[in-house]
Symmetry: C4
Subunit: 195 residues, 4 copies
């Protein structure tokens, strides 16, 4: 089974997700700069979610570059990830329009958490399909970032009900630790180019 | 005639269909969890339709992997299938917003039925274009699932006017029997790799 | 200059155009079949426009299959065609929501006319880029359908102000004569496979 | 790292951006030509933005054709450009619906300016990844158009608060100087085909 269409379909869905989020930034009725002010939380939410979807696209790209074989389970694990990613525009809009109210921050964190878990499941399925000598398996190693993120999301969810700024800081922090592209895979791929 | 652009165009349309459905989950005005409660039927409808579009993408993918030649008829049979798939967001939205009212459940089943028939027609056209020794033709065999599904959709449509839960159960059941990827084609492809 | 990204970008835009049209079919507030009745003109408009965009995709596909070289002019002629195609969802929605009122039918015909002219310009640019021995140039021959269509659109626009049914009939008729895929190119391509 | 998926993802996002802008042209309630008149500024804004996104797609296409290697930095510089491009539908809608009010014209110019800067950053990252003998680096030379555009956008932003026509003229003028495809790269590519 070729990975070409899996990549094409995922690229399509991710491109649409990242773009329809902008539709939540509704054109205001006023025509001066003051009319833009209420949009600030919506725009901030959009930026954070744009970065998250960008991170997922980037890592998805790297992960699939490193593999050769996919299976039926990989197809479904990928669709499962796309499902949770597809909910990002909704939770982003809800959070932005309600100026980071506790429940909206918590739901945002929950969807991020589910995305992280879905990504983890996809990773496992890819490694299983690719065989025990999978470049990906070696590249991941202990996968510290992958294990730390869900924990940080949980802390963010809990913090949502105490202090919006702290919750937001957790979500921004996870984005920052992932913004660094996954050099582990890049390094392993380079090392593995002995053919 | 190459199948590349047919796959690319279908991937594009399917990616958009699966993603714009999420736009039906309108951001609620309230900012607490109670505001999410009325969204439950909309979200459940979204999940079911997401799974259906995922199944179609999966099977479409498998079916086209197994063939070599396409014809003008295949292009149009494919567009016909995409037409019925494109109505899924509409019927999903109508069903979800009206909490599975009888008419909305019946129309949902009708669109699923038309999709099944359009898929069947596409299959026939592909086999006709691919020649009598088509791997696909052998792989399908008696195509039990393909013949059973329309029947189950009809039962679901009839049940819509009697009991919403029974109708819903029919639609969920068909999704479940298709969630298993089409191992028949995979098996035949593997067996056919003698060149 | 490779045609790959031109095809990919056009596929993307066409896939979105054909799919966002369905967003004009707004989910009705009622939950019985009677609530669907006012949607009939919207759905009929959608079907006609779906077929038109499908025809453009099909012919665009065939036309680009037959060529090897593209130029900067081809890129812009293609974007010009995509511009007019992108207006189809708007005129479809306006026509459907106003139950085929004269002005809406005339504007629909005007956009179809501009699409036909843009397609003609693209064809000329492709032939110019591909050289005098272009397969496409031979395949087109007198291009009867291509010359007849603008005339029929003009008649449809004129008829819009007299009788809606006659205008609609013109637009449906043009779609029907194009539904037949462009066998001329297919034939020439087959004949040209002497390498 | 292959550039294939970077191109595919960018094509997807650009195709969606160029198409969802048309959703800002809301179907009017009236059914005669007079109902279209208030849409004129929206349509004019749409045309200008369509041309701008088209220019970015064209130049992006040319730039990536000329390179072989990409890096993690290129991926993020590309996402950064896509972010600013994704704001074009919003500023286009705001400007069109408010008939080119000063603040809307200035914000439109600001987003164009940020796009130009993001494109410049992407260019630098690509040259850095591609090595000092990069065809792109030679092709760009002094990059007069690239350096002139931000200046003209700044003049347009300043003019927004004085005279709408002058501001608009600046934005149209920059589009016109870029409409000419980047012949420098084409020329260099041709000259460089000595392998």
């Amino acid at each position: 089974m070729h990975k070409g269409r899996l990549e094409a379909f995922s690229d399509g869905v991710l491109a649409i997700i990242i773009t329809i989020m902008v539709l939540e930034i509704k054109v205001p009725h006023g025509h001066d700069f003051a009319a833009l002010k209420p949009l600030l939380p919506v725009v901030l939410s959009y930026i954070l979610s744009f970065v998250y979807v960008g991170i997922y696209w980037n890592n998805h790209h790297m992960m699939l570059t490193s593999i050769n074989r996919i299976s039926g389970n990989v197809l479904w694990a990928n669709l499962h990830l796309l499902f949770w990613l597809s909910l990002i525009p909704f939770v982003t809009g809800w959070m932005g329009e309600n100026e980071f109210a506790p429940a909206t921050l918590a739901l945002y964190g929950f969807v991020l958490l589910m995305n992280a878990l879905a990504y983890f499941v996809l990773q496992r399925q890819i490694i299983a399909a690719d065989g025990p000598d999978s470049v990906l398996a070696h590249a991941l190693g202990k996968d510290l970032k992958g294990k730390l993120s869900p924990l940080l999301y949980c802390l963010g969810i809990a913090a949502s009900f105490v202090n919006s700024w702290v919750a937001g800081a957790f979500y921004v922090f996870v984005a920052l630790i992932w913004l660094v592209p996954d050099r582990r895979i890049a390094r392993m791929l380079k090392a593995g180019e002995q053919h």
